[in-house]
Symmetry: C2
Subunit: 308 residues, 2 copies
């Protein structure tokens, strides 16, 4: 199969960037994959592990060689990186296609518009919903995105060829690609990911400071372990996501707080019927979600078992 | 080893009652274990599976034969059962020892005092912190309580011999027994179990009703699956627990809401330092909790591997 792209540049070679690099090389989507970052050790390790072909520590040089640029740095750094990258590309005759993998899209769109004067046609914002307890290039895997969702947030200004190429790139990793508006993406992620992290952090911190004593966690059972797992996530990353997605996150917190206040009222007034309705609706939705995840995981197993 | 007790009566032969029955028989703590309940099929199945020796559908007759009575019904039913059992025992010359396994203790203490006129000396309230995704006598296991915590909530009126016997009973199942006041138990359980269930139910219900659309769950990732697992719990059971532990639960909700409001303020004002502090404290507490669970699980494996 002919490679779709000659040279892809991955900026930031962590779990996501490294896994994408592996998938693009092993699928033959990109003839060559380069890395750029500020930690030479990670980049050298990436070459050693066969994750990338080569790397550069000079952004301008790295960009000059690239047909496709993927910004795979942490969330807040992605906006700063975009502000560095776009001016360097503006001078070129044919601009490479640029995309990213950050968890929040609105702040990147703002950064791009502020830097470029409008949304650059060949900048396609995207977000693969995948991760792992582990991080870093050592943890990267070519199959990380198989059967995971990738949300792209194209805008009317976008070049359709660029959009189609980024869509293809993700299809080649085994992901399911979905288009959404920037605002919808940020609201959906606030509700399903950023808000749960805030709740888990707030709960564990409240208990840790509880007058009930240091050993309160001794009496927590299995359900608590699962419920609070995400409170072990990286504090810096989540501080940055909360800042980047501030306005959608505040809305999600407020909607949740309203629901919790209603449930509190039902408990306070011993409104058994209202509690039962809330719990039953939630159980049904959660059971359906679990069924969907199971079907998805079977589809992923099948995908991985198919001859390539 | 001589049995410590001749006849134990288990009222309510579900997962917890059935597992306790198995553990008491296999450890030789009780020579004979009887079952009482309102579903004869479960009780007959219990005999078939070797969980109990025999059963009765007549409460008075069942109680007459018992030296130790364990109320192992669901939470709200436990209070009603206590109100039925205590008057039947008051007439007897030597009262059997009575204990229970319910998730809330304050409502049982109130029911006992209202029925008996004071706390009955031989009633020892207790709560094994163990469970399983599965339920019913079919799911019962003799090792369900191994390395789990059991909280007893003795009061000054309690007979020390009765307390010591109930403590022994739980030790024989492999559990770690901890004493606590009724109020502390209900507050600790509200914070570590009942509140997390309310948060998970409220979150999933809020999302299920979200204007963002029916397919919002499609974009939820692995962290969301773990975070919301407890929203698949039995709605009737949790309605009953919320009613039984109303006052401690309301306090826990209010304390949590205050913490969430502080975190919301930090997000709204982009107070990066305050967010980082909250997330870091929570991560540290959650990581310590995970380490403790791991040590515990190793201890349980060791316990199960030891020759009996």
């Amino acid at each position: 199969m002919t490679a779709r792209i000659d040279t892809t540049l991955i900026i930031g070679l962590g779990l996501i960037g490294g896994s994408l690099a592996r998938a693009l090389r092993s699928s033959g989507f990109s003839r060559r994959v380069l890395g750029f970052g500020h930690r030479e050790a990670s980049l050298a390790r990436g070459v050693e592990l066969g994750v990338i072909d080569d790397y550069s520590l000079d952004l301008e040089q790295a960009l000059a060689a690239a047909d496709l640029v993927v910004i795979a740095t942490p969330t807040l750094v992605a906006a700063q990186m975009l502000e560095r990258v776009l001016p360097l590309l503006k001078a070129r005759d044919s601009m490479p296609i640029v995309t990213d993998v950050a968890s929040v899209k609105g702040n990147l769109q703002q950064a791009a518009v502020a830097t470029w004067g409008a949304m650059p046609p060949r900048l396609i914002l995207g977000h693969p919903i995948a991760g792992s307890e582990r991080s870093g290039v050592e943890a990267s895997r070519a199959d990380l995105f198989v059967s995971h969702r990738v949300i792209l947030t194209p805008v009317p200004e976008n070049d359709l060829e660029a959009l189609s190429l980024v869509r293809d790139m993700w299809h080649r990793t085994g992901a399911e690609v979905v288009d959404m508006s920037v605002a919808a993406h940020d609201a959906v992620l606030a509700a399903t990911s950023h808000l749960p992290h805030m709740l888990a952090y707030a709960l564990v911190d409240a208990l840790a400071q509880s007058p009930l004593g240091d050993d309160i966690f001794r009496f927590a059972a299995g359900g608590f372990r699962d419920f609070t797992r995400i409170a072990s996530s990286d504090p810096v990353m989540w501080r940055d996501i909360a800042i980047a997605n501030r306005s959608a996150l505040l809305k999600a917190i407020d909607q949740f707080s309203e629901h919790l206040a209603q449930l509190r009222d039902a408990v306070a007034t011993e409104d058994a019927e209202s509690m039962l309705q809330t719990f039953s609706r939630a159980k049904q939705a959660r059971d359906e979600f679990a069924t969907m995840l199971q079907a998805r995981s079977q589809a992923a197993d099948q995908h991985l078992a198919e001859p390539k």
